[in-house]
Amino acid sequence: MSEKIIQLKNIAKRYDNIMALDHVSVSIPHSAIIGFIGPDGAGKSTLMKIILTLETADEGEGTVLGNSIETKKRAIRRHIGYMPEIFSLYTDLSVEENLKFFFQIYKIPKSQYKEKMEMLYGFNRLENFKTTLAGHLSGGMKQKLALSCALMHDPKILVLDEPTTGVDPVSRAEFWKMLNQLKSEGKTVLISTPYLDEAMQCDYIYLFHQGKILKQGLPDQIISEYEIPFYQIETRDPIPAMKKLQRSQLHARFYLIGDTIHCAMLTKAEPSVLEMKKIAGNEITIKKITPTLEDIFLDLLERPGEINDVK
């Protein structure tokens, strides 16, 4: 078996005239949390479905746990747990009934039932809600239940499609704790999210756009290696100042974050502070900042043709 748990090469997938995936390759190690990040329609879910063998690639090849995604679908499915974007449990069954349903469809020997339930309740802390209908749970609890169902057959890989959309921050923190626990038990977690604060919590991320992977790497490394300089401009009245800067001939993009202006240079060149002051007023203060992952992601989208120049 290769040391990568998932290895895909040049995967392409077309729906009618839309290139959902445009020759992407990924190579995913064991025991890690891997983030698929990007806007809707970027290809994240399609790639997940190809890994799950729910979709077949038009081009390219790959293996999951050493099994070909084309010819060994059953073997792959045995080792993958999936949590789709839309809550897909039975809302008019109780917590325990949902768990039992998954226990039965995975044909786990009855003798293991008690042990399995103890283990999952220990993990999801839903034991006190056993008899609650799944439809009556809070958003965060629903997600924990769905995650537990996806873990029923003890899969080596978990695929989670935007699991935390609409979930409150405390429940999200708990959910991420659970993911880290799964990782420490040797599982590989693939998670998609439109939120860059969650991307920062992944071990490795792929940034998707229009069926392509724009960038990949460790989140911190993507930030520290990004070559375009970013600045923060503070002034008392930021909006008029920003409009002046936007209308100017400066080689930079300006946008508002709270009451400060962020400035992303269009090239690796440093900006002329003097020039900026001339345009926006002498009282502005300019300092270099480390961009957030969101700054970088939006910056990459602004310059699709120049990605290679950037790096």
Binding site: G166, D168, P169, S171, Y195, D197
Partner: protein, 242 residues
């Protein structure tokens, strides 16, 4: 003299039986401010917002919105509020224009103003069939812009965005926030609840609520300094002592 405050809350409390959902909170939001309101489910956010919007009577305390007492002038207050949430703002089985007409009628919007707003929406979305498709057929990002325009149809000075961007991708969110800043620059006050700390960073100032109380208030930068952390997620978790 006109006050510079869009919203003043003083010693606001709401009890349901023996349970105190909102526990003696005070808060001031300035005109034109983009103000964030964070908290876990059950922290008391929704109860607070319902009291501000005159949908729920406080047990005690005072709320003043755009110079009006919410307790004594609830109907006037409602006319000065725009409320948008991802879930309940629009009728999915009406066309986008029918949605605008419906809200115009509720808020007594002049026909000329409605016609103008329809044109603006068509221009913004670059669609000419907005009287002809159902709202549910629009992509999420378009629905959201329609919701925002509809929420603003009666030109309210204060806008409530209740998890309005849930499920929207980074690009759509950025465009939405550019519009929010435009509104703020035009003098509108924007009150935002969100579960996402990316968005908390976008607010001018914010409060964090926990167990019915406001536990922190400040700018994102101030709060990060105070807790000596680099992300709002860490600020939030420390503020509620998670």
């Amino acid at each position: 003299m006109m006050s510079n405050d869009a919203l003043t809350i003083q010693n606001l409390t709401k009890k349901f039986g023996t349970f105190t959902a909102v526990d003696n909170i005070s808060l001031t939001v300035k005109k034109g401010e983009v103000f964030g309101f964070l908290g876990a489910n059950g922290a008391g956010k929704t109860t607070t917002i319902r009291m501000i919007c005159a949908l729920l009577e406080p047990t005690s305390g005072e709320i003043e919105l755009d110079g009006l007492s919410v307790l004594r002038q609830p109907e006037e207050v409602k006319m000065r509020i725009g409320y948008m949430s991802q879930k309940f703002s629009l009728y999915q089985d009406l066309t986008p224009f029918e949605n605008m007409e419906f809200f115009s009628e509720i808020y007594n919007v002049a026909p000329e103003k409605l016609a103008e707003e329809k044109e603006n929406l068509a221009a913004e979305l670059k669609l000419n069939n907005l009287d002809n498709i159902l709202t549910k057929e629009l992509p999420l990002g378009y629905k959201q812009r329609l919701a925002l325009r509809t929420t603003l149809i009666h030109d309210p000075p204060i806008l409530f965005l209740d998890e309005a961007t849930s499920g929207v991708d980074p690009v759509g969110r950025r465009q939405f926030w550019d519009q929010i800043y435009e509104l703020s620059a035009a003098g509108k006050t924007v009150f935002v609840t969100t579960h996402y700390m990316d968005e908390a960073e976008y607010c001018h100032r914010l409060s964090i609520m926990d167990k019915g109380k406001i536990v922190q208030t400040g700018t994102p930068a101030e709060l990060k300094d105070k807790f000596d952390v680099s992300s709002m997620q860490d600020v939030f978790l420390q503020a509620i002592q998670y």
